[in-house]
């Protein structure tokens, strides 16, 4: 249960003040995969901080998300090297094919999209990471194939 997970994290921050907000957010996201409304409300009560403040802080940083990750989590690098190598086109392709904006998750929870600043693999630019697996020198065409293969895997798994 998610409420209990958050509760468990909060008990480790007994008597914490607002300074503990970011570590708490990180731990909750680590455990839950994202920051749910319910989690934010729990944290807000614990730290006696308004929910709007917590949302403000969490949206300031790229690392926090407010929707659960999809089964296939796409991270598109928009760092300098990837940008020079055409990562903008790559991102546009993913957005178009998955019908998602960065930070969103598809309704069937299959795909989610995240934009990151650099994954430290500039030599392989442009880079896309799906569920921890790196894809190097991704062209829009190659990307379409990656997405297609995810979909095919699902079609095989799908109950008939």
């Amino acid at each position: 249960m998610s409420a209990q997970t958050v509760e468990r994290i909060l008990t480790q921050h007994q008597g914490a003040s607002r300074d503990a907000l970011i570590p708490i957010l990180q731990e909750v996201q680590e455990a839950e995969g994202y920051l749910s409304r319910e989690a934010v409300i729990q944290i807000s009560k614990h730290l006696k901080l308004p929910a709007s403040k917590i949302y403000g802080v969490a949206t300031f940083y790229n690392q926090f998300r407010f929707q659960p990750k999809g089964k296939y989590h796409f991270m598109v690098c928009r760092g300098t090297a990837c940008h020079v190598k055409g990562s903008d086109k790559v991102l546009q392709t993913v957005m178009k094919q998955l019908k998602l904006s960065p930070g969103q998750t598809s309704r069937d929870r299959m795909f989610s999209l995240e934009v990151v600043a650099c994954m430290g693999a500039c030599g392989l630019a442009p880079v896309v990471n799906v569920n921890g697996e790196f894809y190097a020198k991704v062209s829009p065409r190659k990307l379409a194939q990656i997405i297609q293969s995810c979909r095919e895997k699902e079609a095989v798994n799908a109950p008939r």
Partner: protein, 573 residues
């Protein structure tokens, strides 16, 4: 005392003062967008920059303290250039639709770009396109017009203690939003409208009912009735450039008739009625060991605040409706019967210094049988707009009196518009209700004035009463926390949502500084000083209303029409 030099003139200043404060006193204007009187500086807008000799960069006057011997230039080419560039950058993504903007003519950004002589768009940035937030019955948000000065965020957090809104995202993607970017109606916003007062642009304005009211006025099948709140007559003048603190009561009533209202009533009458009910309720609670301290219920922002943040205090709130709603209720019952009109044909419009009143009149409890007590609320600003639209020259109006049966008021009802007024009026009448005698001194000085928290101990016939008056919800929060922590010496607490009371309400004329608000307050007390009828329980028409219709205070009819209930609200706090 410190001596420093600005633009070649020698200036005296107090130690620790900011450059801005010292310059302002000397009559040297320095433009600001993010600065807020009475709050610590935030230094975000960089419009107040000045040149300080020996400093390599420009210095923000709002946050830099004066030092002895400092040499300042406030209008050197470097300063003017920087200020203009800052405004030009703000304009780079600002919508160009001033003609269609709610703030047209009253916008700080517009004024600044005029003052700086900006005649062309020098920088062209990508325009933000966020949706209008029309979810709130009181406040309309247009994020595209926001310049991110942060004043709304600060007033909401630091003055009102609500924090319904904050900065969301970062850098060029930043905007002001609620938690999880929901509509304002789902947030903890209490609709007080203090954010509207401090917004420098058209990003925040009231949700307007003007079009509906104009339509009703031209509908021959409707009986359109107006009521005006105590704080409106002493602030409307500012909408027309007249000196703050000018009372236009009679002229305003005449103007409302010219506009086409079939009847004009005075909400101060309903304030007298409120005192009869609320005073009786207080006496009843004290005599029967009811829940104390009793909290006033006139201010709808405060009511929502308790429902959200302090639901455990709901039993403490007086069950009395606010004067606006009481007036609405007797208009559609007693008045409708008296005039033999179908209540459904009456359009009840109230003119209020308040944005939260728009929310209040839309509460389902305030519409028995799906007929709302009050149909539309216009703010003081909207009334100004209505009079301009209809070509009414206020100055030329001959003063007229409000209509019977709800036209007579005591000045106790009138001072409801200022923080402390409800308490003072209540004490005058509660004393009479308990002792049968008039309160000896009608002026209770300790609870007058702009202080956020005022207290007084009263002795009524041997009965020791602790009374507190707070205005501004941040102050209310402090007091409620004290009571939660075990404070027991208070019996009656008046709370007004806005600092200083309704005279500083969220629907009042814009650009009023503290002095203007004080003048409004003084105008109310001047009316009280010069009035013959100074206590609610001597208002003949209130007494007649009880005789002919309600019976007595707290009667069954009173309870049905004039009292209400509250419930805990689940919002994102």
């Amino acid at each position: 005392m410190i001596t420093f030099e600005a633009d070649g003139r020698t200036i005296q200043a107090n130690e620790g003062e900011t450059i801005l404060t010292a310059l302002k006193r000397e009559g040297i204007q320095v433009p600001t967008l993010c600065h807020m009187e009475g709050l610590p500086p935030s230094g975000a807008c960089r419009l107040c920059v000045v040149e300080v000799e020996g400093s390599p960069t420009l210095t923000p006057a709002c946050s830099f303290p004066v030092a002895p011997g400092m040499k300042i230039k406030t209008r050197s080419p470097k300063v003017l250039e920087a200020r203009r560039t800052n405004v030009e950058l703000l304009l780079s993504n600002h919508p160009d639709d001033c003609l269609y903007c709610a703030r047209n003519g009253k916008c700080d950004l517009q004024t600044l770009s005029m003052e700086m002589g900006i005649r062309q768009r020098l920088y062209r940035g990508k325009k933000t396109t966020r949706e209008l937030d029309v979810s709130s019955p009181s406040i309309l948000r247009d994020p595209d017009k926001c310049i991110l000065c942060g004043r709304c965020v600060r007033v909401c957090e630091e003055v009102q203690g609500i924090s319904a809104i904050d900065f969301v995202n970062r850098g060029s993607r930043a905007f002001i939003g609620t938690a999880f970017d929901t509509g304002l109606n789902l947030s903890s916003c209490v609709n007080c409208g203090q954010c509207v007062l401090v917004c420098p642009t058209g990003a925040l304005s009231e949700t307007s009912s003007l079009a509906d009211v104009v339509a009703a006025l031209s509908d021959p099948d409707k009986l359109v009735v107006a009521q005006h709140a105590p704080a409106v007559s002493v602030s409307l003048a500012e909408e027309f450039g007249v000196k703050p603190g000018t009372d236009l009561d009679g002229k305003m009533v005449a103007a409302l008739r010219r506009v086409g209202f079939d009847r004009v009533f005075d909400t101060s009458f309903a304030a007298d009625l409120t005192i009869m009910e609320e005073g009786s309720e207080l006496v009843h609670r004290i005599k029967t060991g009811g829940v104390l301290p009793m909290l006033t219920s006139c201010s709808p922002g405060w009511i929502k605040f308790v429902e959200e943040f302090y639901p455990e205090f709901i039993p403490n709130i007086s069950t009395c409706k606010s004067p606006q709603q009481m007036m609405g209720a007797v208009i559609k019952s007693f008045f409708a019967q008296r005039e033999a009109v179908d209540p459904a044909k009456i359009v009840s419009v109230s003119i209020m210094p308040c944005t939260a009143k728009k929310f209040e009149c839309s509460r389902p409890e305030m519409a028995p049988g799906h007929i709302p007590d009050v149909d539309y609320v216009l703010t003081t600003r909207e009334l100004g707009q209505l009079l301009r639209m209809f070509g009414i020259d206020l100055a030329a109006m001959e003063p007229e009196g409000a209509d019977t049966p709800f036209g007579e008021r005591s000045s106790a009802g009138k001072i409801f518009g200022a923080s402390g007024g409800v308490m003072e009026a209540a004490v005058r009448s509660a004393y009479f209700l308990i002792t049968g005698k008039e309160y000896p001194d009608l002026k209770i000085q300790p609870i007058r004035g702009m202080h956020g928290c005022k207290e007084v101990r009263l002795n009524i016939d041997g009965l020791e009463l602790g009374a507190a008056v707070v205005s501004g919800l941040g102050q209310a929060r402090k007091l409620l926390d004290q009571i939660k922590a075990g404070r027991k010496d208070l019996h009656f607490i008046e709370v007004m949502t806005c600092p200083g009371g309704c005279i500083n309400g969220g629907g009042q004329p814009l650009k009023a500084d503290l002095e203007a608000v004080k003048s409004r307050m003084q105008a109310l007390y001047k009316i009280d000083r010069e009035e013959q009828l100074r206590v609610s329980h001597r208002n003949k028409w209130v007494l007649r209303l009880y005789e002919e219709f309600l019976g007595k205070p707290l009667s069954e009819t009173s309870h049905r029409l004039l009292h209400t209930h509250y419930a805990q609200r689940d919002v994102l706090l």
